[in-house]
């Protein structure tokens, strides 16, 4: 009796496992199908951008779209470059990006060091106060900052694009956390050896926090590349215009009969540096982003 029960049970189990493997296989196929379909949807705008940017205007205007250009028109890219004056825009943006990143790194490193390693009265209150400002939407600052920079006579200069955003409480916070992980013993040993605070910061703490500093650099550069609202407000002349703003200015019409191939070529040119950065520095971007939750 007991034997029969066990065999029945085993038989059932066998049926059950084959059924489960079949269901498992179906689920797996569905999962891959879902992911690949979603992946194609996510990538489609990029493909369409490149596809359109290489077409002739006549081909773009065909009522039945072509999924690969018949005549590859690289000249669209040259047209886009001159129409939008992209050379100047790229230079302006690079200049603002590089200068503001360097200055911002120096300021962030110094203050993160003070918050992480030095003792002074009111340190915790000051730090909490700084963190509290992170909750306030940037628009609230912009209203007054616009008057401030106007009064300072900074409108249409590089200064106005660089100085107001040099300090980021978030970057200070990020770097301070990193600095705090460096063991105290190292600091004390350096002190015993008579190393100055500043030398210790340069020789020990900065090299040890290099990954965070790289993340900050990338986010800051991407921020300069993508910034739109502030540059449009305060530096919208030909000499200082930034790339996003310039792109929108050069192609004002979004609907109607637009020369889309050239417009898409310009969009591709503006997007290209971001993709290059992404390909080579993906690890740092993803790490920085997962801790920040902000774009740039």
């Amino acid at each position: 009796m007991a034997e029969r029960i066990t065999t029945m049970h085993a038989k059932d189990m066998g049926k059950e496992t084959t059924r489960q493997t079949i269901i498992g296989a179906i689920v797996k196929v569905m999962v891959y199908l879902f992911l690949f379909v979603m992946g194609i949807i996510v990538l489609f705008p990029f493909y369409w951008m490149i596809n359109s940017s290489l077409k002739t205007l006549t081909e773009y205007r065909l009522s039945v779209p072509t999924f690969f250009p018949k005549h590859i028109m690289f000249s669209n890219y040259a047209d886009a470059f001159t129409t939008a004056n992209l050379g100047r825009l790229f230079l302006n943006t690079m200049y603002v990006g590089i200068v503001s990143t360097i200055l911002s790194l120096v300021i962030t490193i110094l203050s993160a060091f003070a918050f992480a390693r030095l003792e002074f009265k009111g340190k915790n209150i000051l730090f909490a106060g700084l963190l509290a400002t992170m909750m306030i939407p940037g628009e609230l600052f912009t209203i007054t900052n616009y008057s401030t920079v106007t009064n300072l006579g900074w409108i249409n200069t590089y200064t106005v694009l660089i100085v107001p955003f040099l300090v980021s409480v978030f970057y200070i916070y990020l770097l301070r956390q990193n600095f705090l992980q460096i063991p105290n013993e190292l600091y004390l040993a350096a002190k015993v050896d008579g190393t100055s605070d500043f030398k210790y910061l340069c020789k020990v703490m900065i090299p040890l926090s290099l990954p965070t500093l790289i993340s900050i650099t990338i986010l800051k550069m991407m921020g300069a590349w993508n910034s739109y609202i502030w540059p449009r407000l305060v530096a919208n002349d030909d000499a200082h215009r930034m790339v996003t703003n310039g792109l929108r200015n050069a192609f004002k019409d979004t609907t109607g009969d637009v020369n889309y191939p050239v417009q898409m070529a310009a969009v591709a040119l503006v997007s290209a540096p971001l993709f290059l950065v992404f390909i080579f520095l993906r690890k740092y971007i993803m790490k920085g982003v997962s801790r920040s939750g902000i774009k740039g």
């Binding site: 797996k28 999962v31 891959y32 879902f34 992911l35 992946g39 996510v42 990538l43 705008p45 990029f46 369409w48 951008m49 205007r61 009522s63 779209p65 120096v106 300021i107 962030t108 203050s111 003070a114 030095l118 003792e119 002074f120 700084l130 400002t133 909750m135 306030i136 939407p137 940037g138 628009e139 609230l140 912009t142 007054t144 900052n145 401030t148 100085v163 955003f165 040099l166 300090v167 004390l188 590349w225 993508n226 739109y228 407000l233 792109l247 929108r248 004002k252 979004t254 609907t255 109607g256 889309y260 417009q263 898409m264 969009v267 997007s271 993709f275 993803m286 982003v289 997962s290 939750g293």
Partner: protein, 319 residues
């Protein structure tokens, strides 16, 4: 320890030297704006231009009243709220599904992860222009009788391929619902990478033992998802929902990307303007009082929604 503090506190002024550059800039560009913006919000009809001319302004809540009476502001608020409440749930659900799917596979996992992160490193104006091109109908599309459509745009081509009718998404004469649909699609596309990154990170740090135990018990997939995955992920879900709402309330550039600075189709400019857009419009007409009041209302809304969500997540989130 005593030794330690002695070493560190020998020159307490040194810390202030290190902090000086940051503090000076913060005072000018962060602390002063907070004080000044609140001040301007409560000075009725404050205008920077008139203030420079020596005008005085009465203290009161007139700016807030005026802003809330503006039809344009209410439209901006409506757009912002609709966009928020549509895009955040949709993008969170999709991101959750994609992350769970990504977490369950081995082949192509790294590759697909990269693909799904790609929209993050884009310029929202630039890619908005691509979306506009995909939805745009090229032709003399002005509701005239001899409508001439040169090309209906790839999205309409796809709809027609599956037997549907072309929709006027963003052109002259398009409906509000069509406009919002385009915006929701674009914003969800834009919001997915960050949410997937966070949720997948959360899933990968979940202890495998829970799943092994569920397997031994023969728990069904759906039950595993609702009873194990979602509760264990709830802190990350709460995080992406809260940051999603904060970002949604500040939505502006993605609309400029698609509709340009008209913020709407050619026949109804400003139809899709948002609260942030309203603030900048007021600023460009030198009505700082009104802009400040609108900014404080925006801040208040963000604060309320965040506090509500924190309160809900305190009850529902398993830490």
């Amino acid at each position: 320890m005593a030794n330690n503090s002695m070493v560190e506190s020998r020159h307490p002024w040194k810390a202030w030297v290190y902090l000086a550059p940051a503090l000076v800039l913060l005072l000018v560009f962060t602390v002063w704006p907070i004080i000044n913006t609140v001040r301007m919000a409560f000075l009725e009809n404050y205008s920077g231009l008139k203030a420079a001319g020596g005008a005085h302004f009465r203290f009161g809540i007139g700016n807030f009243k005026k802003v809330l009476e503006y039809k344009r502001f209410l439209q901006c608020m409506k757009n912002t709220v609709i966009i928020c409440f549509l895009t955040v749930p949709i993008s969170t659900m999709l991101a959750l599904l994609i992350s769970v799917a990504l977490n369950s596979i081995k082949w192509f996992q790294k590759f697909l992860q990269t693909v799904f992160f790609l929209p993050y490193v884009t310029n929202s104006i630039a890619i908005g222009m691509v979306f506009a091109a995909m939805f745009n109908i090229v032709g003399s599309f002005y509701g005239t009788e001899n409508e001439l459509i040169v090309t209906a745009g790839i999205i309409n081509n796809v709809i027609e391929f599956f037997g549907g009718h072309a929709v006027n998404w963003i052109n002259y004469g398009s409906t509000y619902a069509a406009n919002i649909t385009v915006m929701v699609i674009y914003i969800v596309w834009n919001a997915l990478p960050f949410k997937i990154l966070i949720l997948l990170g959360g899933l990968q740090s979940v202890n495998k033992q829970y799943y092994d135990a569920a397997k031994v018990d023969g728990t069904s997939r759906r039950r595993i998802f609702t009873r194990i995955t979602v509760p264990l992920l709830s802190p990350m879900i709460a995080y992406v929902v809260i940051t999603g709402f904060i970002g949604g309330f500040k939505e502006y550039t993605s609309i400029v990307g698609i509709f340009g600075e008209n913020m709407g189709p050619a026949d109804d400019k400003g139809r899709l303007n948002t609260m942030v857009g309203f603030i900048y419009d007021s600023l460009s007409t030198n009505s700082q009082g009104r802009a400040s009041a609108a900014a404080l209302i925006l801040f208040g809304l963000i604060l309320i929604v965040t506090i509500l969500q924190l309160w809900v997540s305190k009850k529902k989130v398993h830490y």
